[in-house]
């Protein structure tokens, strides 16, 4: 079978299983906290929605910078089954996307990657895509004051790239310059600093957002460990077939 097809099939298989499993973990972990937080978010939005009618009609823009964020007039999945179905779908797609990266790496290794090695690649993914960006931009609940979306996305992507390059240098280059440069690349985005939220009031309790950081980080650890192992096992089997 061609390498591309092996990668895609193993990523799809590992992604569907991991995405479904992680949705189960989110049902008990992060989703109840998001729903609790949305109660505060809606309370904060309610007076804002009444006020601006007299003033000039605000342009119908999706103002990401504002603390009061309006969902109305935009399509969103209905509460309950539909919302959970979309969450499951998004989780599976995310898992397939990241599994494509992992399986691509396994193909580039040019030899069999054991499940334990797959686990470590998964943990690498956790460090690159969750731990490193999460240091500057911790997992946030809806309704928290946040900095400009595009700025945060740029910092997030930059941090993930720098951390990946840094880890790669640390692990695969034996020279001392590589260790220094690798550590430097990992630290650099945090010296630059993540875009900070404007000082704003939020009704979301501190304890709730703290629980969310813990729940989201642990779920992500599970996600990456599972994805690393399953992708390596699937790619091993499928590429040999």
């Amino acid at each position: 079978m061609s390498v591309f097809r092996s990668i895609v099939f193993s990523a799809a298989l590992a992604g569907v299983i991991t995405g479904a499993a992680i949705t189960g973990a989110q049902m008990v972990g992060t989703i109840p906290l998001i729903q609790k937080s949305e109660v505060y978010e809606r309370k904060a939005e309610a007076p804002a929605a009444v006020a601006p009618t007299a003033a000039a009609q605000p342009a119908h823009t999706h103002d990401h910078g504002a603390a009061a964020h309006s969902h109305e007039a935009e399509w969103e999945p209905a509460e309950g089954l539909q919302r959970n179905a979309f969450t499951t779908g998004a989780n599976i797609l995310t898992a397939i996307g990241f599994a494509l990266l992992l399986a691509g790496v396994f193909a580039l290794r040019g030899r069999t990657v054991s499940w334990r090695e797959g686990l470590f690649w998964g943990l690498g993914g956790f460090v690159i895509f969750t731990a490193a960006p999460g240091l500057g931009l911790p997992p946030e609940l809806p309704g928290m004051p946040v900095a400009d979306l595009a700025l945060r996305q740029t910092w997030w992507i930059g941090t993930a790239c720098a951390t990946a390059a840094g880890l790669g240098l640390l692990v695969f280059r034996k020279a001392s310059w590589a260790a220094i440069l690798g550590l430097g690349l990992i630290v650099l985005p945090h010296l630059i600093g993540a875009p900070q939220a404007p000082a704003g009031h939020t009704d979301v309790p501190e304890a709730l957002s703290h629980s969310f950081v813990v729940a989201a980080t642990l779920t992500s650890l599970l996600f990456w460990a599972l994805l690393g192992v399953l992708t390596s096992v699937a790619f091993q089997r499928i590429s040999r077939a």
């Binding site: 061609s2 390498v3 591309f4 990668i7 895609v8 990523a11 989110q26 972990g29 992060t30 989703i31 998001i34 999706h62 990401h64 964020h69 969902h71 935009e74 399509w75 969103e76 999945p77 919302r83 979309f86 969450t87 998004a90 989780n91 797609l93 995310t94 397939i96 996307g97 990241f98 599994a99 494509l100 990266l101 399986a103 691509g104 790496v105 193909a107 580039l108 040019g110 895509f129 969750t130 960006p133 999460g134 931009l137 911790p138 997992p139 946030e140 609940l141 809806p142 946040v146 979306l149 595009a150 945060r152 996305q153 997030w156 992507i157 989201a216 980080t217 779920t219 992500s220 996600f223």
Partner: protein, 60 residues
């Protein structure tokens, strides 16, 4: 001599072939993650809302 050379060349072309396919697959993976986690289209955003928050992708 010539045989080993041919073998080497074919090994190199296979390697290049593998690299191209692997890189294409990885680009596809990044594209999928980008759409689910980073799209500014509000319908896509709302559909993947809980996933974005749980994965700590920057959200509104």
């Amino acid at each position: 001599m010539q045989q080993t050379q041919t073998a080497q060349i074919s090994a190199i072309t296979t390697d290049v072939n593998v690299v191209v396919q692997a890189v294409l697959a990885m680009a596809l993976g990044l594209f999928i993650v980008g759409v689910v986690g980073f799209s500014h289209i509000s319908a896509v955003h709302n559909a993947a809302h809980d996933t974005r928050h749980a994965n700590a992708f920057p959200c509104h």
